[in-house]
Symmetry: C2
Subunit: 348 residues, 2 copies
């Protein structure tokens, strides 16, 4: 049996009310009394029972983190890094995180989400561009604080932490156009209704237009290696004079590389390929992948911080945080990167 408030109260010769006030840093407690109470609490290793506190305050100090469980598994450490960021920031503020993975079926009915129904969390973070908008809207209607990561519902005022998709793709496309003097570039896009695909396409198109080139976009049903490979094979068929591929993410970029190798095209000599995401295996690939880094860990941190803000301060003016991105130049674009790369330093 763990020690309770009552035990502290008895030892300190005060009431549980005073103990509660002292431990929660509330006013109305004599300095010496407070000192004594805190000391005793420390001595007996007291920590408040979360259920009792939760029942009394309607606060759980728990965040929910909902990820989409793709099938098949994506090749990416995408979710861990975000989840780690969330957990790190949450714990810093005394919160815990219930991390869960929903699949397509779960997304049909948000009401059945026990996280909310059983009032287990004070707020929710939704991770990834593939969550169904209707699902998100349903969650919003439960009036629980909500923050999206790497997603944005433009017609709503749901808070979101995203990265600068447009700018990132714009810059990496310009890198191909200007540094390498390439012209005939195609963009491998995910589904048009995915937020990040949309934005990245815009960055690509902007760069192309500015360079006086006609954009050429290939839409894919998903963004896996195989799909990227298939899409690239087709693109190479249709545009034999293709000079470069701007892929919506690293997995499809990898598919593109495999496809061109298959067609006897050397990377980057015969075809330049760039991705987006900076997954951990990018620098380990042959050739090392030029890509756009998104600060996933930091996105997790910011989303958690914002969510706890909403929980503690009540409704706030709507908020979209757009973290910067960084072009990581390696070799798949045609550059020569140093041999001294420390492979383990990448990935965040």
């Amino acid at each position: 049996m763990r020690p309770s408030l009552i035990e502290i109260a008895e030892r300190a010769g005060v009431s549980t009310a005073t103990v509660s006030r002292a431990l929660n840093d509330r006013p109305g407690v004599n300095a010496e009394t407070r000192e004594r109470i805190l000391r005793i609490a420390r001595e007996i290793g007291y920590a408040a029972n979360s259920a009792a506190r939760g029942l009394a305050t309607s606060r759980t100090f728990t965040l929910g983190c909902i990820n989409y469980r793709r099938d098949p598994q994506p090749i990416s450490s995408y979710h861990v890094q975000i989840v780690e960021g969330i957990d790190h920031e949450a714990r810093q503020h005394g919160y815990h995180v219930i991390t869960t993975f929903v699949d397509a079926a779960d997304m049909a009915d948000a009401a059945q989400l026990s996280l909310i129904a059983e009032q287990r969390v004070d707020g929710l973070i939704l991770v990834g561009p593939a969550l169904k908008p209707s699902f998100i809207i349903q969650l919003r209607n439960s009036h629980i604080p909500l923050v999206l990561i790497d997603n944005l519902l433009e017609e709503t005022d749901i808070d979101a932490v995203v990265c600068d998709n447009v700018g990132g793709t714009y810059r990496v496309t310009r890198h191909l156009l200007e540094t390498h003097g390439l012209r005939r570039l195609v963009f491998l896009s995910g589904p048009a209704h995915w937020f990040s695909s949309r934005e990245r396409r815009q960055g690509y198109e902007k760069a192309m237009r500015e360079a006086g080139q006609e954009p050429c976009v290939v839409y894919m049903p998903d963004t896996t290696v195989n799909t990227g490979q298939a899409a690239t094979l087709e693109a190479l068929e249709r545009h034999p004079d293709l000079e470069g591929i701007v892929a919506v993410n690293d997995a499809t970029a990898l598919g593109a590389i495999r496809a061109s190798k298959k067609r006897g095209r050397h990377i980057p000599a015969d075809l330049a390929v760039v991705g987006f995401d900076n997954v951990t295996w990018g620098p380990l690939h042959d050739p090392p992948l030029t890509t756009v880094r998104m600060f996933k860990y930091e996105m997790g941190i910011e989303a958690a911080r914002r969510l706890m803000d909403m929980i503690e301060r009540g409704p706030l003016p709507s908020f979209v945080l757009r973290l910067s991105t960084e072009v990581i130049v390696r070799e798949s674009c045609g550059c020569k990167s140093s041999d001294e790369t420390h492979y383990d330093d990448y990935g965040s």
Copy 2:
């Protein structure tokens, strides 16, 4: 305000006690009454408040999952897959999972772990071979149900779900010895006190001895790409006639490949390399990595199942579940693998 038991009780014209009994499937409720109560509960979308239930029962229906936050990030989706398995199985049984990442500093003092101190979880799953034994022992002393994944404290009776490290490494080593007729093989080991390193080394040594070869083990301070690369460079220096490398995991196997390429040795022609883990990027590498698959998702499932068993049925005879492993033959060992690999199917 979400509906409470009282609301159901009023609507059904019974007491809250009866409602509670009906909803919890306890005996002593007339069938019709039960029916009526369940119907009303469904109609108004009732779900029990977890804090109130927790306070009354001292049960949270929450599992804690503690992962070691390595620094720098490991190149692996190791944790997600395990965590997904745990979450999947837990939810199937009405449990939730608080996933958290501890670092070395956190491991100094288990008592401060608020998961336990605040009684937020009914049990704990500890993931990975790098968690400090002293930390684990401390947790055990808090008398909360505990299951280890991919770790084992042999001198204790702490439950564990591990994979057949010995057999996996044994078989993949034999593959090099027999199928490819190689002889001079070195084993790249992690720290000797890491459980999985120890076991995998044993598998390697067994295979070598059976083939009449003297085992040769290189110990590394950690198991990252860089360390694997450095260790391999040194091994090549010392044993120029080296024919193959059995790496303790895929990351170090990759380091080994990079090192030998650096020394102008072609893989697998001049040096065979095999890993362990079957990380998602393995089939995507050049050459595709021959490795030993561990069923991480399934390990998560089994650990969660066992933990819930302990929680619900009380102390059980000590338990170690050893899941099988599977040698995945690709090309880095010298085999030719089919071109038709569907890259996204791997990884679990």
